[in-house]
């Protein structure tokens, strides 16, 4: 690669342009990111622009690569749970649940209904939290700052609920293989219900500020259109896929964790533009509230972890301190990890950003032999060069905002 800059031959260009009756232009390369206000983290777009029009946009990723998959091979299954928090760090609970379900599938383990319900509620709360963030950031990208503060206020309430449930506001690390870290606190479900009740009117208010706003429509309607075929061909998932009109939602199509019991709709877009992706997210939050309310209404009693999986889920503390057998068992699980039989399993969950898949290979013992993560943001970003070409610089910002990606998950 040569860095030498050759001066354009302007005279020849002008002469050529005069012949074609067009103004001579010159392309400029513009590096958007990795530290740019609207690339949401450390995405870098290497763009070639002609005036304000983007001719070419190449996403450059990897600025947040931490080697999560390799790290997983060096620790027990439960020790990897905190690392899943840091994939899509806007919805850690959903990642925790997806990871736990993947390992449990390999172990052939089913958790009791109460545990499933807890996981559903926490995953749906995480979905709301993630979509709120996506909506707020989208607002900032199109210039509506106030939206961000409104949604952040709601997220703060969610964080309080998360803190109460898991002990952490941000990186929750809530699930364990075969269950969750602890049962829901007393009265927590009522507080979740109360949150849901007050959340819907506020959500309507926030969406009302954008949905029929002429400026917002100008910025998003017909911008960054992804056709149905393209969306499927590029492996898009989640709201970005549904925004293009493909009703793929694993909670409906391949139910897990008891999603089949709940009644909810899968919103889909019509055109596949930025506005549709925004609208799908808005509606999904309402559907999540529906799921949470149903789950709480029929919140099952009983065990909150798989009692029969004695070699996988550590026994409760009171038993550990009183019984020899349980103490040994606890020691073994903590030091050697949950004992997962040899084999391999692939599990996908419908996460806020799309389909998060874990491919786990075990050779027995408490440490995965190989763990592969299929991250939705990574696949979603692959379509950027296609839809950014021909857009304006400001459109790229709208498109990035409407994609709602997280680089922690993309680069992992």
């Amino acid at each position: 690669m040569s860095n030498a800059y050759t001066f354009p031959d302007n005279a020849a260009k002008t002469a050529g342009a005069a012949a074609s009756a067009e103004l001579p232009t010159e392309k400029m390369s513009l590096s958007m990111g990795p530290s740019h206000p609207s690339t949401h983290g450390v995405l870098r777009l290497q763009m070639e622009i002609d005036g304000e029009t983007v001719v070419k946009a190449d996403p450059v990723i990897g600025y947040l690569h931490r080697g999560d998959e390799k790290i997983a091979e060096n620790m027990t299954y439960n020790q990897f749970v905190p690392y899943t928090d840091r994939l899509d760090y806007l919805a850690p609970l959903a990642n925790n649940v997806a990871y736990a379900l993947a390992v449990e599938q390999l172990a052939g383990l089913t958790v009791p209904p109460r545990c499933q319900a807890i996981r559903v509620i926490s995953a749906e709360l995480a979905r709301i939290s993630s979509h709120l963030m996506g909506l707020g950031a989208f607002g900032i990208d199109v210039g509506a700052w106030t939206i961000f503060l409104y949604t952040f206020t709601e997220r703060e309430k969610l964080y309080r609920l998360f803190e109460e449930l898991t002990g952490a506001r941000f990186t929750n690390s809530y699930t364990r293989i075969g269950g969750v870290a602890r049962d829901v606190p007393e009265g927590w479900t009522d507080r979740v219900n109360a949150f849901c009740d007050q959340f819907l009117p506020i959500l309507d208010e926030v969406l009302g500020m954008l949905s029929r706003n002429k400026i917002f429509l100008d910025r998003t309607d017909g911008v960054g259109v992804i056709s149905k075929e393209d969306a499927i061909a590029y492996g898009l998932t989640g709201p970005n896929l549904r925004g293009s009109g493909v009703p793929l939602d694993l909670r409906k199509d391949r139910p897990y964790s008891g999603y089949e019991q709940y009644d909810f709709d899968v919103p889909v877009g019509v055109k596949g533009d930025c506005y549709d992706r925004y609208a799908v997210r808005g509606e999904e939050m309402k559907q999540s509230v529906r799921i949470i309310k149903q789950a709480i209404a029929r919140f099952p009693g009983g065990d909150w972890y798989a009692k029969d999986a004695r070699k996988i889920f550590a026994p409760p503390k009171d038993k550990v301190l009183t019984s020899m057998e349980e103490l040994i068992n606890n020691f073994m699980i903590v030091t050697e990890g949950p004992q997962i039989p040899p084999g391999e399993a692939y599990f996908e969950a419908e996460n806020p950003k799309g389909i998060l898949g874990f491919y786990v290979v075990s050779k027995g013992g408490g440490v995965p032999w190989r763990l592969k993560i299929r991250s939705p943001s990574f696949c979603n970003l692959s379509i950027l060069p296609k839809i950014c070409a021909g857009a304006l610089v400001a459109d790229v910002v709208s498109i990035l905002g409407s994609f709602d990606f997280v680089m922690g998950e993309c680069d992992r």
Binding site: M28, D141, G143, I215
Partner: protein, 387 residues
């Protein structure tokens, strides 16, 4: 005291008086520009359900009962802290910039912003004869033209900053600046023409002075006391929209739109040079609001159909010109501040247009509307004077 003053030749006296007035105005406009930046933070906090700046306080001031804490909550001291910080922090000069022009740009921005203030009347008092005398630095005949001419020079600072920064985002910002400002200048000028046509009816002494427009809105009677906002709502609307574009406020802040251009023309700037751009921007906003109030909201007249002179009569203030003057300045400032609040309200409510949409609105919607509006009032004025 009188001896001293009386011995100075009158010409020098006038000069001294002008300089004093000039300082007075600068001393008013600078704090208002600064306070606007504070108000921006407070208003945005209010709109967004936050507290906004409410921590900073001068140490001994905390002990003043009530007032100290109240001013602290208002964030007044944050304003001082901000200014101090920007003044004293390191002033980086990136290696890749054209140094001379880079330093020149903020000053180029500031000069027109302050210069326009000179021809803006900001109050009035009644002299012994009961005549309303406007308070202004220079009552020049070209009034509004002077403002437009000088204010549009401010754009050179942005272009200069963008070029001198020698960096891509500022470059894009300055390209947008030059295009946008040119397109909206036209509508801005065309929108105020009907007002001056109305004021300068055929046969009268023609003037473009803003004081004259206010005078016109202070006459007794139904038509006399009517503010131009009622008479020419379309003009007012066009002027307002163009004003938003001219002062780079959201939804038209293409030039610095931080979502795509990082910081636009001031991306490479820091510390006090950066803040000078904002003083200039807020000064433009203050002057723009002032002109809008003068043209369409009756200037220093308290209410429509209630001129300042009438109010003075009611309050028996004829013998107190200073009080009347102060009262008029206060009324005027309240209106201007309300306008500035409106600017902020809009900024924190709506999203931002895209660059090509801004141009489209300017050329395809606003300009034809302004021309149509001008033609309409031409016909109306012609008809009134023909019959």
């Amino acid at each position: 005291m009188c001896d001293l003053i009386c011995h100075i030749p009158p010409a020098v006296q006038d000069l001294l008086l002008s300089i004093l007035k000039g300082f007075a105005v600068i001393l008013v406009i600078f704090p208002i520009a600064g306070a606007s930046s504070m108000a921006e933070r407070k208003v945005s906090a209010w709109i967004q359900g936050r507290y906004g700046p409410n921590r900073a306080i001068v140490p001994w001031f905390a002990y003043v009962p009530f007032v100290g804490r109240f001013l602290q909550r208002l964030g007044v001291f944050n304003l001082m802290a901000d200014g101090g910080k920007l003044l004293f922090k390191e002033d980086p000069l990136p290696g890749h910039v054209k140094k001379f022009y880079f330093m020149l740009a903020p000053l180029v921005g500031l000069v027109p912003a302050f210069t326009t203030v000179t021809v803006v009347p900001f109050g009035a008092y009644l002299d012994r004869a009961g005549q309303v005398v406007p308070l202004m630095l220079a009552n020049v005949d070209v009034g509004i033209l002077a403002i437009f001419a000088v204010a549009s020079l401010g754009i050179y600072s942005m272009i200069l900053a963008g070029w001198a920064s020698n960096s891509k985002y500022p470059f894009l910002g300055s390209v947008r600046a030059s295009a946008q400002l040119v397109s909206y200048e036209l509508s801005l000028t065309l929108s105020v023409l009907p007002v001056f046509l109305w004021v300068n009816a055929p046969g009268t002494d023609a003037t473009l002075s803003l004081a004259r427009v206010v005078e016109f809105q202070s006459q007794p009677g139904l038509m006399g006391g009517m503010w131009f906002i009622f008479l020419m709502p379309v003009s007012a609307l066009i002027f307002l929209v163009a004003l938003f574009a001219e002062t780079n406020r959201l939804p038209f802040d293409m030039i610095e739109s931080e979502a795509d251009l990082v910081g636009g023309f001031h991306t490479e700037y820091g510390s006090f040079k950066w803040s000078l751009f904002f003083v200039a921007e807020y000064s433009h906003m203050v002057v723009g609001s002032a002109v809008f109030v003068l043209l369409f909201f009756g200037g220093w007249n308290p209410l429509p159909w209630l001129p300042l002179a009438t109010l003075t009569g009611w309050l028996h203030l004829q013998d107190w010109p200073v009080v009347v003057g102060a009262l008029s300045v206060v009324i005027f400032l309240v209106k201007v501040l309300a306008m500035i609040f409106f600017f902020m309200w809009v900024r924190w409510t709506v999203p931002r247009f895209r660059y090509d949409q801004v141009m489209k609105i300017g050329w395809q919607k606003l300009l034809p509307l302004a021309i149509g509006n001008l033609l309409f009032y031409l016909l109306v004025i012609g008809a009134i004077h023909a019959f």
